[in-house]
């Protein structure tokens, strides 16, 4: 389960999500072109920037990263914009870093990406 904050929220503002297609374009000498879709469907990616986290919340993300072995593991992620559940998602990076500048003042950024199934 992807960790939630103590408020129950998954993200904080500013939230960022990316929708990605992949299109192959073959351009001919006369300027016309043919286009092919590489992806069967759109892929989603969410960048979750978190601030003012307490130690428990940071520890939950730390454990989640370790248990997933970075970008290796998969989990289901609920899009906080529309509640859609994406069953096959991963952490986008093999690195997880956080900074604690004081008590209950932790900050981190996590990126979740949808995998092709």
């Amino acid at each position: 389960m992807f960790p939630t904050l103590k408020t129950g929220a998954v993200m904080q503002y500013p939230g960022k999500r990316v929708l990605q297609f992949s299109t192959d374009v073959v351009r001919f000498l006369d300027g016309t072109e043919q286009r092919y879709r590489d992806y069967a469907a759109v892929l989603h990616r969410w960048t979750i920037k978190l601030d003012l986290l307490d130690e428990s919340e940071l520890a939950a993300y730390d454990q989640f990263f370790v248990s997933n072995q970075g970008s290796f593991g998969t989990f289901s992620f609920t899009d906080p914009w529309d509640g859609t559940v994406y069953a096959n998602c991963s952490l986008a990076a093999d690195t997880f870093a956080f900074t604690v500048t004081g008590e209950m003042r932790g900050a981190t950024t996590v990126t979740v990406c949808e995998n092709r199934t």
Binding site: S22, D38, Y39, A40, L43, D54, E55, S56, L58, A59, A60, D62, Q63, F65, V66, S67, Q69, G70, S71, F72, G73, S90, D94, T95, F96, A97, F98, T99, V100, T101, G102, E103, M104, R105, N115, R116
Partner: protein, 261 residues
């Protein structure tokens, strides 16, 4: 045993602290974005960047002694993560790392104070005090704080165990977070923490946590690894110290734990 020293306050670090975990995943990616992934757990690393300010000469000397003894990044030392719970499996008291005396009975999935069902009920059916404890591979001479949530419908007392010290605490049917801080005088290279139950008592236990500091911070859940790193190293061969006045020193330490070394 080489280990990272505590400051005179009992803290291992100062704010700000940065921690970075790195994993390695081998990815075979197709043009359609299908992926085959392989994990490489042996390549995992953990790094800390700790900035120290206003250190007195004694605190700085302790850091310098360690840096000299390790010869920079050459030799490993034990590092207790100031941002983590030092106990492993903090919510799985039935894991093998926990040593339960033979007459203790553990029941999982008990309601916990955070609204879940991750607490354990611990019962002592024997006629003598029984202990549930975990040993960590960290120096006994550091100052530690053991904290745990407990409640009981029928027992009025529980003991917190920290090395050779035990302290009795009164408990009630309401969840209470107990904390016991202290420092051992011996030079052992491991130390055990846990709870001890009087004969015939039953206590609900949740969120056992140990930190190398004089007071408890918020509870942090752990799984197979706690916050003790016996093979940590300095990341650099250079230690830069700035002194702005008598007994006023600052320096920055970069520490790394690499699983495959």
């Amino acid at each position: 045993m080489l280990y990272f020293p505590q400051l005179s306050t009992g803290a291992t670090g100062q704010f700000p602290i940065q921690k970075k975990l790195t994993a390695r995943t081998i990815v075979n990616q197709s043009v359609q974005d299908y992926e085959i992934k392989l994990a490489d757990p042996g390549a995992a690393t953990t790094e800390w960047q700790i900035s120290f300010a206003e250190l007195n000469d004694q605190e700085l000397a302790a850091l310098e002694v360690l840096f000299a003894a390790t010869e920079g990044r050459l030799t490993p030392f034990t590092f207790v993560d100031p941002t983590d719970n030092l106990l492993a499996w903090s919510e799985a008291l039935n894991q093998a790392i926990w040593q339960a005396d033979p007459l203790l009975t553990l029941t999982a999935n008990i309601a916990d104070p955070l609204g879940g069902t991750r607490a354990f009920q611990v019962s002592n059916a024997g006629l003598a005090t029984q202990i549930l404890q975990q040993a960590i591979a960290a120096p006994a001479s550091l100052e530690y704080c053991l904290s745990v949530y407990v409640r009981s419908d029928q027992s009025a007392q529980v003991w917190l165990v920290q090395g050779s010290q035990t302290n009795a605490y009164t408990i009630s049917p309401e969840w209470t977070r107990l904390a016991s801080a202290g420092q051992q005088s011996n030079e052992d290279e491991t130390i055990s923490f846990g709870v001890a139950l009087n004969p015939g008592s039953t206590v609900d236990v949740f969120g056992m946590q140990v930190e190398a500091q004089p007071a408890a911070s918020l509870y942090k859940q752990t799984a197979e690894t706690g916050g003790v790193y016996p093979n940590a190293r300095f990341r650099d061969d250079v230690m830069t110290i700035t002194t702005v006045g008598p007994n006023r020193n600052s320096c920055e330490m970069n520490i790394i734990n690499v699983e495959h070394l």
